[in-house]
């Protein structure tokens, strides 16, 4: 009898719970994390749910590869989450929901995030597709301790890539390191430096331009540095295709004195290096045309196949509010893309690591040095195509499979094939 009473109680409780759950509208978010931002967003969303019991948020924390490979298939079939955090912003713009009719104050969105809407919406549109969770900028990190131990001065602001390569070579030789420097295996990472050498990827007609002498100048340097043993070979050489590989672990393990990556690595480096050695952000080394990094970032976008646009807009309004963006940036050590916050300044990045504040300030300073060509790239629909061709073919040159001239021809052909395929 007791058992029956217990079972009845459990059944009633389950019914009550499910009835309650049915009242709440489910909003599903697909999210990936580079560092600690998954924990931060979960905490922020918990607070939203407590204040808004009619919305039940399901946060799917997935691998970045899922965002890159599975989300596009879901979107193409008219499915997917209600909100997603993505980096491939422009190429998937047709799938984002225009939040303008749903958000509480479109003027707030335009004023604070409007500068980057073109990165994630179709050309000519005035949609509000979402907001950038963070801005990123590519740039260099130097192991100050290794430089000091080797008795080599850190190259000053405005130093060229050649000067950085030479200084890092001296450190490598003095300290018996496997390489002088490394750059992440990514077309995006080398595009900024190539622009510093005069690369023009965007043609007059908005389509990809053939690789020019400026671009090839930098790519030739890259392959020469690899052949000379200055650039860590396993990052670029040990993979085929467009496979992404970061060299952060080699920098963290003090195997290289100089590492070119980006601002999103600050929290990662701070957390893993601790007080093992001193490191500094040095911006982007220079070429003849300038000292450009490449801007980018991740965005939270609403997906247009959602069945609950009003609820999605409420979640987005909350996440894009000034206080929440500020807190998110301060806790994750990400550069905010909120114009109001940037204008007010005074971000209190939450880290006990003394390396972090100067690192973040250095990135903010370096963001003023990006060249116009680099600024156009994030909003350009063919950006990823160009990056893919660069990383595929330049790796083959480094591996000794192609000459640099063959690589130039093949990059142009790969890009032309992709443009042609898109037009079919």
């Amino acid at each position: 009898m007791k058992t029956k009473i217990w079972l009845s109680g459990i059944a009633l409780a389950a019914m009550a719970t499910s009835a309650f759950a049915q009242d709440a509208t489910q909003v599903r978010i697909m999210w990936y994390s580079d560092g600690i931002e998954g924990e931060v967003i979960a905490d922020l969303l918990d607070r939203f749910e407590q204040a808004n019991p009619d919305i039940d948020i399901i946060l799917d924390n997935v691998a970045y590869q899922v965002i890159q490979e599975q989300l596009p298939i879901q979107l193409a079939s008219g499915a997917g989450p209600d909100i997603a955090r993505v980096t491939n912003l422009k190429a998937q713009a047709e799938h984002w929901l225009d939040l303008r009719p749903y958000v509480a104050d479109p003027a707030y969105w335009d004023a604070n995030f409007g500068d980057r809407f073109d990165w994630m919406r179709e050309d000519g549109s005035n949609a509000i597709p979402g907001y950038m969770t963070q801005l990123t900028l590519t740039g260099g990190f130097a192991n100050a301790t290794l430089f000091e131990q080797a008795g080599v001065e850190l190259p000053a602001h405005g130093a060229t890539w050649d000067e950085w390569a030479e200084a890092s070579r001296k450190v490598m030789e003095d300290q018996g390191l496997p390489a002088a420097f490394a750059i992440d295996r990514s077309g995006h990472r080398v595009a900024g430096p190539a622009i510093s050498y005069g690369a023009k990827f965007i043609g007059e007609d908005g389509k990809p331009a053939p690789m020019n002498d400026g671009a090839m100048d930098f790519f030739t340097r890259l392959t020469d540095w690899t052949a000379q043993g200055l650039m860590l070979p396993e990052v670029w050489v040990s993979a085929a295709g467009t496979t992404y590989r970061a060299a952060a672990d080699d920098f963290i393990n003090a195997q290289i004195p100089f590492y070119y990556s980006g601002s999103w690595q600050v929290a990662n480096l701070s957390g893993k290096i601790g007080d093992a050695f001193d490191w500094v952000v040095v911006g982007s080394p220079c070429g003849p045309a300038g000292c450009s990094g490449m801007a980018g970032g991740a965005a939270m976008v609403a997906v247009k196949y959602t069945k609950h646009p009003e609820e999605v807009a409420r979640v987005m309004d909350y996440l894009a509010s000034e206080d929440i963006v500020r807190e998110f940036s301060e806790r994750t050590l990400f550069l905010p893309a909120h114009s109001g916050i940037v204008a007010k300044g005074g971000l209190n990045f939450q880290s006990d690591d003394p390396m972090v504040p100067p690192a973040m300030n250095a990135y903010v300073a370096a963001s003023a040095e990006t060249l116009p060509e680099a600024d156009r790239m994030p909003a350009w629909v063919w950006g990823n195509t160009v990056y893919g061709a660069i990383v595929t073919r330049i790796s083959q040159v480094m591996a000794g499979e192609l000459t640099i001239d063959q690589a130039r021809e093949m990059m142009d052909r790969d890009i032309a094939d992709q443009v042609e395929a898109a037009g079919q």
């Binding site: 050489v237 499979e401 790969d414 395929a421």
Partner: protein, 323 residues
Amino acid sequence: MPLVLIARGLDPVLRLWQRCTGTGGMITFFLLPNMAIFGVFVIIPLVLNIIYSMTGGVDILLKDRSFIGLGQYGRLLECQDYLVSTTCREDQFWTAVRNTGTFVLFQVSLMVCVSMITALILNRKIAGRGFFRAVFFFPVLLSPVVVGLIWRWILQRQGLMNLIVTQLGFDPVVWLNDRFFAFSAAIGVSTWAHMGFYTLILLAGLQAIPKDLYEAAEMDATPASRVFWRITLPLLGPNLAVVLVLALIRGVQIFDEAYVLTGGGPGTSTLFITQYIYEVGFASFLRNPGLAAAASILMGLVLVVLTLIQLGLSRRAEKGNAR
């Protein structure tokens, strides 16, 4: 009880079906569930893949793609000199074909030899035979990704192998950056991971050979090598044929452990055909689903040929045994 009720309910229906369609109809009826599953998961995707291979564009959904006939096949097969992949329009496809062919040649030979030797040893009355059988079979139970990661950690710059090398007083080597070693590692790791399965097949074959043949050979003082070539090998023929063809098919499909181990590098020296299809279809920034579908159809044709060879060999072996 409910099953009995269901059976009773179905009984008149089945009797009526049998009366109308005969025994053949009953066979069809019982095969239908399996055929449905096979159709949904094999036939329909295969047909879709063929259709995809005849479409162009970068969109994923078929309705958004344009029909271009055999254009993707033409692009894959466009080549000035098939022996020099850089002269081909899809040079990476031909590099992958060449790599896969070389891989199959060496890996299958190695696999058959090593499995054979292991099976012969494990078939003898040695101490700890059960333990060693389990040891050799254990890698088969591992996920290919785990296999790839384990060996990557062993062979990377700061891995176990270099720890040993430096302890011996040599400079560390970036093993996976060397074209020859990376390719050899892909062959070795793949063999290590799968040899247990093939050893098991050969061991079963060895144990099925009648003992009296060996006893007769022993009474005649036949040398061991002659026993192997004249008794063991011929009677192991059917099992060897199965091992050979299964290893061949698996070799052509090599992807997971090699992808995790080398990522296709250095350069494209371990880029195999399945990785090429995966990259072009899903992973790459230079995505082209139609081209990937066409490449997979071509690979499928190669596998069909290999399967036909397997069937032919099996039938020949069966006929030989019957005589």
